[in-house]
């Protein structure tokens, strides 16, 4: 499958990288804690590169520390990027979030 999408959810405690096709059906995924984002991305992409992925779009969610790392690993692998999108979910003032942490 030459074309597909790579979703990366980069929260503050974890990064989850999911590789899907254009319609969203998951092919492989992997996750890793904070600084293992590169490893997680590498694992997920390795599976797909073997299957013959050439182009990919990247969708990044959540503010987190794994954003740059996943981008770098994708770039270094043999996959061509078509888009990089930020798909952070923004409510139009919906549910009330948790109260503030008292630190």
């Amino acid at each position: 499958i030459p074309k597909g999408v790579i979703h990366a959810q980069a929260s503050f405690n974890n990064t989850i990288v999911t590789v899907t096709d254009v319609w969203g059906q998951v092919i492989s995924w992997s996750s890793g804690p904070l600084f293992a984002a590169q490893i997680a991305a590498g694992n997920a992409i390795r599976v797909v590169v073997d299957q013959g992925r050439q182009r990919a779009e990247v969708m990044i969610k959540c503010p987190g520390l794994g954003r740059d790392a996943t981008l770098r690993t994708i770039r270094r692998s043999s996959i061509l990027l078509s888009f990089i999108r930020d798909v952070a979910l923004m409510p139009h003032n919906g549910c009330r979030p948790h109260k503030k942490r008292c630190m």
């Binding site: 319609w23 503010p63 770098r72 990027l81 888009f83 798909v87 923004m90 409510p91 979030p97």
Partner: protein, 175 residues
């Protein structure tokens, strides 16, 4: 190609942010050759997804994303905040920098952090005041100069007052 597109899009967005060129959407020929497969419903979705990569639609995507993709049914994640179009030969660091800058401009990370925890009305007021002061500081450097001039004039006044002999001379009065 991507650079020209992004520059185009920036110029468009700066000049005419409210232009929704919806009629341009469906008719442009696709840039990338659609993949070889397959059955009919899939092929239509492939065509649509490849249509999204044409130049006019890319600029649309960057200037007004929600409107650019309002018509597409099969587009998977219909809503996004920032999109960066990648050229093949772009170096890694440059790409990262571009993405980071785009995200910063859109204010995505700030928004996310703000929405993580609930913000009381007081905190909201404080935040708004802070943001307004930041914005005003950038736009109006004059108030700083006026404040400085005020300080200077007050200093001058002090000097003049020292020059003026307001105070009575020392020593007892003769009577």
């Amino acid at each position: 190609m991507a650079f020209s597109l992004t520059s185009l899009s920036k110029s468009l967005s700066s000049l005419l942010p409210s232009q929704h060129s919806l009629p341009n959407l469906p008719q442009n020929p696709p840039n990338f050759a659609p993949p070889v497969s397959q059955s009919d419903p899939k092929s239509t979705s492939i065509r649509l997804s490849s249509c999204l990569t044409t130049p006019a639609e890319e600029t649309n995507a960057i200037t007004c994303p929600s409107f650019a993709y309002a018509n597409t049914l099969f587009f998977k994640s219909g809503h996004y905040n920032v999109q960066v179009v990648v050229a093949d030969n772009e170096p890694e660091d440059k790409l990262l920098g571009r993405f980071r800058r785009a995200v910063f401009k859109a204010g995505v990370i700030q928004e996310c952090k703000r929405r993580m925890f609930f913000e009381s009305s007081q905190e909201k007021k404080k935040r708004k005041v802070r943001e307004a002061s930041k914005r005003n500081r950038r736009r109006r450097p004059k108030p700083k100069d006026s404040a400085q001039s005020k300080e200077e004039t007050s200093k001058k006044d002090d000097d003049e007052e020292d020059g003026d002999n307001w105070e009575l001379p020392e020593g007892d009065l003769p009577y």
